[in-house]
Symmetry: C2
Subunit: 193 residues, 2 copies
DNA sequence: GAGTTAAGTCAATGACTGTTGACTTATCCT
DNA sequence: AGGATAAGTCAACAGTCATTGACTTAACTC
């Protein structure tokens, strides 16, 4: 009985494969511990590779972070959505982004400490969130979008970084039910001032 | 005309004076840059003193931070306050804390990166914020207080750390007008789920 | 004014860090 | 088989950091 032909476990990965592995490990570490607390050596150890490879493939720790903190919100188009349905269209999308990749948490953690990260978060907001929300705001789109941002970021910070127990205990649906009317109000309610 | 008797500028401060000066400088630095990015050497240089004194008076950088991030919210007693007046009693207090001492910002910046800081923030919340808000919540006090926390923290993060332009541009009064109904709803509105 | 004590300096240590360049080794092609 | 090339290792550098202990100097007391 002949041995089944088996593809040999490659002792060396292809360059794109290790590069991707490093990027994954970086996302996880940055998301969990923040930019400053993570060392290139740790990331390399996670992948089982020499620290020099991290620099080889990404150039520097900063460049690695920049790539690890990249992600797409893919917010839905809100034009023509009824006000009472706005939040229900948005909130699940945010949960998905927070829990899928560690990119967002990486960025959030870094943004409180690093100017570049804060600017990147701001750019993400003005380029992805603000335009999407503008389609739903009855007036003052910039202000209304910013207010929605405070609530969304506050929830992410409290539930995923600080892990406030009551928030961790609540389900997605419960949270959506609490948050939705607030977002609707910010977007379509009477303006202040 | 005799020279007025002048207390000689002491070339050496008293120990409590330098200790206090170090603590002030630490608060400012930690509030602006976060725990990891701040060095003991910087703080010492701000005060015009040798780095060794920082350790001498506080034991370690960690211990210094712990003391620098200490502050009191002094939230008012909310028992008997009418629902529509709740937020107006609370919001100005938060603005004051955020803008007065750098203690809160120090803690917020550190909390995204350090477990101890995050726990300290959580303790602050459960020991000061939650009890005060419980007096105003119609039911589920823990959950309602946590939700208020998300909005408050989100505003602090967006306006003072990320410096989202529309939020920076708005006055205290405008922000209060936007935020107040939301806090009221979280505390006294219909429960979700 | 001598002597004690408190306030502050100084230099060094040991541990990490990101980053580099020279080297080694597996894999593929012919 | 043998060389070319990609993948990966290795040791070291140059810098920074918190922390330490021995030392110096000012201020106060008797």
């Amino acid at each position: 009985m002949p041995e089944p032909r088996r593809l040999p476990e490659p002792r060396r990965r292809s360059a794109p494969a290790t590069r991707a592995a490093i990027l994954d490990a970086a996302r996880a570490r940055f998301g969990a511990d923040g930019f400053d607390r993570v060392t290139v050596r740790e990331i390399a150890a996670d992948v089982g590779v020499d620290p020099a490879m991290v620099i080889r493939y990404f150039g520097s720790k900063d460049a690695l972070f920049t790539e690890a903190a990249e992600f797409d919100l893919e917010l839905p188009d809100l034009t023509g959505v009824a006000p009472e349905d706005l939040a229900d269209a948005l909130v699940p999308r945010f949960f998905a982004v927070w829990e899928d990749s560690a990119g967002f948490l990486s960025l959030l953690r870094a943004a409180t400490t690093s100017k570049v990260a804060a600017d990147k978060m701001l750019e993400l907001f003005t380029r992805q969130v603000s335009p999407a929300l503008a389609a739903a705001a009855v007036d003052r789109p910039a202000e209304r979008a910013a207010l929605v941002g405070t609530q969304i970021l506050g929830l992410a910070l409290s539930r995923y970084v600080l892990r406030v127990p009551p928030l961790v205990a609540m389900s997605h649906d419960e949270l959506r039910a609490w948050i939705a009317p607030v977002l609707t109000r910010y977007l379509t309610g009477p303006a202040a001032g």
